[in-house]
């Protein structure tokens, strides 16, 4: 599903250049649930941003679902994101003046679906995350765990090939973290490829594979016995 070869990325900070990714090779198959671990500054967020086409690599090849991603401008990147990728952020990033349903329907709007279809689909995904009854609530009326579940529903609504989660439990307590991870496991169980960036070991062990980054290179890549989280939803 995802294949990257010899990926390099550096940031210019004034006169100095900060080499963040120093040649990453990674292959991820369909249906995998991969945790990307590493301390801060290890380059894991940069890697995720490049995978999410929010940022461009300096060097290297990136193939997503047999499509070579190259020569991206803002518009093609936006279209790829819309077709291939779903995002879940640490700070949820729901639009605060739109209710849960409208938030979930937003990527469908940019996919060009009509109003009726958007409503139906969005409601379907809200039901999947157990928040159908909260459809008309604004984000400010939801708890952190509920917000993240809305965000996951939003990420899933566009039916992406890959779900990219950047510290999805970073702002949540352990109980709601488990709820969210349970949801992610459930979605993965249905066959979706998911990448989770985290620095928490117990969260990483809820995935099937852990890739550890340190100073811009992969230092460890191992399959793990997945800890299945009981669903409390």
């Amino acid at each position: 599903m995802i294949s990257i070869k010899d990926l390099h990325k550096s940031y210019k900070m004034g006169d100095n250049s900060l080499h963040v990714l120093k040649g990453i090779d990674l292959d991820i198959d369909e249906g995998e649930l991969v945790a990307i671990m590493g301390s801060s500054g290890s380059g894991k967020s940069t890697l995720l941003n490049i995978l999410g086409m929010l940022d461009l690599a300096d060097e290297g090849k990136y193939i997503l679902d047999n499509v070579l991603i190259e020569g991206l401008n803002e518009t093609t990147a936006a279209n790829y994101r819309n077709q291939f990728l779903g995002f879940v952020f640490q700070s949820f990033n729901l639009i605060n003046y739109k209710n849960a349903l409208e938030n979930v329907a937003l990527p469908l709007y940019y996919q060009g679906f009509g109003r009726k279809i958007r409503q139906t689909k969005a409601l379907e995904y809200l039901e999947k995350v157990g928040l159908k009854d909260w459809a008309t609530h604004l984000p400010s009326e939801l708890s952190g765990g509920q917000k993240q579940r809305v965000a996951i529903a939003r990420a899933m609504a566009s039916q992406p090939k890959v779900l990219l989660a950047d510290e999805p439990t970073g702002a949540l307590d352990s109980k709601t973290s488990n709820e969210v991870m349970s949801l992610i496991q459930q979605i993965n169980h249905e066959g979706k490829t998911i990448l989770v960036v985290t620095h928490e070991l117990d969260i990483a062990h809820m995935c099937k594979r852990i890739v550890t980054l340190k100073d811009g290179v992969i230092v460890e890549d191992q399959k793990v016995d997945q800890v299945i989280v009981e669903s409390h939803v």
Binding site: L54, N79, N82, Q83, F87, N93, Y97
Partner: protein, 425 residues
């Protein structure tokens, strides 16, 4: 999605309403800026138009490019003549003037009694009532220069009256009231003017602004006047109307030059001939009205521009505030084009709303002013209107300006990379 489809898409507007309604206070304040601009523009230019109309109405009974010229006392010795001579205009001057100055459309010599110091007014007798009134000897062309409204199926002096030295007269509305009973029709009746019987052919309505004329004036044919008062070839003054496209100031100067030559007046003698140039006066007043219109256009446009810049400014702040939201939208697959169009449409939408409300308010104020000034007959203000093309022009100017100014925040919105936008807290 191409941009045209976006504009007509209900969902686009829902997105725009969503973000506009999100911050109501800011939206209202933004809108007020442009609203005020178009309001000022509509009110000012409507008022200027009303003033213009008012002046037009005040001068409607006079030919716009007419003038009076009369002889005074010479002040420069010339060709052996001493200072202090009183030149006399002659009836033959008319042909000379017409021949030499092609810009003259009508020229009507006039004689009068009772108007200027020294001469006695005519004594008019009907049955046992006797009164004094000013009397004028007139050509029929005079009505083409200064319109006389004639009452009750009567008429003004015509060329037949002139040719046949008819003893006919047009009397004023006051004369009518004073000499005749209320239900008596004066037309066809005979009145005695200086012991000569005249038939009444018309009653003129007194119009304000006619200079020294009054509501008691009696008009008789020029030739008849000459016979009664034995004025011979003399003319008291000329009323002259130039063609519409002529320069009245130049015509006045030419007329004076010709008359000075005929009457042996020194060319540099400015005091020998008196004149009153209605055309010049009117030009000055209508120039004032035009200036008002122009001023209101400038002021209005400047105010609109300031308002639109205000919208751009507020949207710029709004874009800054919404950086994160816009980043999320782009992460979810919004193209830069879609974001740009959204911000642009927000700008255009706010501008149009402000414009329409401003126009309605301005029209309301104009209507109120019109109602309030309708009873004031001495206030030159009639029918304040703003032509539809000007309104459409103002609206489209605003839409164009709104679009142009919206480009700045729109560009700003897409110039931030989604990754940076998402990082913003």
């Amino acid at each position: 999605m191409n941009s045209l489809k976006i504009i007509f898409d209900f969902d686009t507007w829902q997105e725009i309403f969503g973000s506009i309604a999100k911050n109501k206070t800011r939206t209202v304040i933004t809108v007020i800026g442009v609203l005020w601009g178009i309001f000022i523009y509509i009110t000012l230019s409507g008022a200027a138009k009303g003033l213009d109309n008012g002046f037009d109405q005040a001068f409607e009974d006079m030919a716009m490019n007419s003038m009076f010229i009369w002889p005074q006392r010479t002040s420069v010795p010339y060709k052996g003549f001493k200072v202090g001579r009183y030149p006399r205009f002659k009836i033959s001057n008319v042909n000379e003037l017409k021949k030499q100055i092609p810009e003259i459309q009508y020229i009507a010599p006039r004689n009068a009694r009772g108007v200027f110091g020294g001469s006695e007014p005519a004594s008019v007798v009907y049955k046992e009532i006797s009164r004094s009134y000013n009397i004028y000897g007139d050509f029929s062309d005079y009505t083409k220069i200064s319109t006389k409204k004639i009452y009750k199926g009567g008429r003004f002096i015509n060329e037949e009256d002139q040719r046949n030295n008819r003893k006919v007269c047009v009397i004023g509305e006051r004369t009518n009231e004073e000499l005749f009973d209320e239900d008596e029709d004066p037309l066809g009746k005979y009145v005695r003017i200086n012991n000569v019987f005249f038939q009444v052919i018309g009653v003129h309505k007194y119009l304000e602004g006619g200079g020294f004329e009054t509501d008691g004036d009696i008009f008789i044919p020029f030739n008849t006047f000459r016979n009664i008062y034995n004025t011979g070839e003399d003319v008291d003054w000329f009323t002259i109307a130039a063609f519409d496209d002529a320069d009245v100031v130049a015509v006045e100067k030419n007329v004076k030059d010709v008359l000075k030559k005929i009457h042996s007046i020194a060319p540099e003698d400015d005091r020998a001939l008196g004149s009153f140039n209605i055309g010049e006066l009117f030009n000055r007043i209508s120039g004032f009205a035009k200036g008002m219109t122009f001023l209101s256009l400038i002021v209005g446009l400047a105010t609109i521009l300031a308002g639109v810049i205000g919208i751009g400014n507020i949207l710029l702040i709004s874009v800054k505030e919404r950086t994160k939201e816009l980043g999320v939208r782009r992460a979810l697959g919004a193209t830069p084009g879609e974001i740009r169009v959204q911000i642009l449409l927000e700008s255009v939408f706010l501008t149009i709303i402000a414009g329409v409300v401003g126009i309605i308010l301005g029209a309301g104020v104009l209507a109120i002013i019109n109602l309030a000034t309708q009873k004031l007959s001495d206030f030159p203000y009639t029918n304040p209107t703003v032509p539809i093309p000007l309104i459409i022009g103002a609206l489209s100017t605003m839409v164009v300006l709104g679009t142009l100014i919206g480009l700045i925040p729109a560009q700003r919105a897409v110039s931030i990379k989604p990754i940076d936008a998402l990082r913003e807290e």
